[in-house]
């Protein structure tokens, strides 16, 4: 009872605080901000998608940290919840679900890969496409593991190798740009050809970083989810 009272009090206080903060801080930054990435993103990076350009060019180091977070989470989860017996996977699904997934799976994978590869010219990017890839891997693992017998599109060890390899490729691209005289993960400053904006081979190092982070996120999230339900 007292806990409910404390909860109500604190929640009301937080609400009032948030209201005062949000309405006391003046107009939204979007109305007053002068630096707009959309105005200069094409000549700066050669990419058309502003979000991808910010993630992989202006704030590439931040994205490397983001990938490290997924890396650490999957490593810690593999340590916390070692895969011993998959009781959740022993459920038998109906034929309708199995055949539906068999038809759906190729489309899911193609959609994920196209979201990754065209991440700098259309909506999408490495993280979004990676999540699609991991969802297709996880759906396969849930549907086709019958009677505790696990079957995966990609074996767990291969997933770990792909994840670590993609991480290494990301860092290696950073060091390559360092070697050409630019900063770590610099794009246009290294003198790399930016290409014609809107085409597939544009944006300098952005497509390669997209691919690396796509594989990284896809395999990392698949490892996280599978080690959670394989408990």
């Amino acid at each position: 009872m007292t806990r409910t009272l404390i909860g109500l009090t604190v929640a009301a206080a937080v609400g009032v605080l948030a209201m005062v903060t949000l309405w006391g801080s003046g107009p939204m930054p979007s109305a007053t901000l002068q630096i707009d990435y959309a105005l200069r993103v094409v000549q700066d990076t050669g990419a058309v998608n502003v979000v991808t350009a910010i993630l992989f060019d202006y704030r590439g180091l931040d994205t490397l940290g983001e990938a490290t977070v997924i890396f650490t989470a999957s490593a810690v989860l593999a340590f916390l919840a070692p895969r011993s017996h998959a009781s959740m996977l022993s459920v038998r699904l109906s034929m309708l679900i199995l055949y539906g997934i068999a038809i759906l799976l190729p489309f899911l994978m193609v959609f994920g890969f196209s979201t990754i590869i065209f991440g700098h010219v259309s909506p999408g990017g490495g993280f979004t496409g990676g999540v699609m890839l991991s969802s297709s891997v996880v759906i396969f693992a849930i549907a086709y593991s019958v009677g505790g017998q696990q079957s995966f599109v990609i074996p767990v060890l291969a997933k770990k190798y792909i994840e670590n390899g993609a991480m290494l490729v990301f860092v290696a691209i950073g060091f390559l740009t360092l070697g050409t005289g630019g900063a770590f993960l610099a794009n246009a400053a290294t003198g790399i050809g930016l290409g014609e904006a809107g085409t597939l081979l544009s944006g300098g190092i952005i497509p390669y970083l997209n691919l690396a982070s796509g594989f990284k996120v896809g395999m990392g999230l698949a490892l996280i989810i599978i080690s959670l339900f394989a408990e």
Binding site: G15, S30, Y37, V50, P123, I225
Partner: protein, 112 residues
């Protein structure tokens, strides 16, 4: 439009804090933190909102776009919230295996 979304974010924040304080079930605490995450994401995305603007895929010079930076930062926030959720769930599974309960009250009683 902007005002109503802000009010929705504040309602979500209040609900999340109420859940965090009143519940002692670990999975429910994880759900409360997730609700708090979505409130934060609403505010972040709203920071870049502009009336009658389109998504930040550059097509022509004279079109007004919403700001792209809040979208990129909200992507970071989504990734981190997903990872912390997975870690907390894994921890809850581990605690349930070792102690047989996920209620924090009972865990505290077992400490001595």
């Amino acid at each position: 439009m902007t005002q109503s979304i802000l009010i929705g974010a504040i309602i979500l924040t209040v609900c999340a804090f109420y859940g965090l304080i009143t519940h002692r079930h670990m999975i429910r605490l994880v759900i409360s933190l997730n609700i708090l995450d979505s409130a934060v994401l609403l505010v972040i995305v709203l920071l870049g909102y502009r009336e009658d603007a389109v998504a930040p895929i550059v097509r022509a010079a004279d079109v007004e776009y919403v700001l792209g930076l809040p979208h990129a930062l909200s992507l970071t926030a989504i990734v981190i919230s997903a990872c912390t959720t997975a870690l907390m769930l894994g921890y809850a599974v581990r605690v349930y295996r070792l102690r047989g309960t996920v209620y924090l009250d009972q865990l505290r009683r077992w400490r001595g």
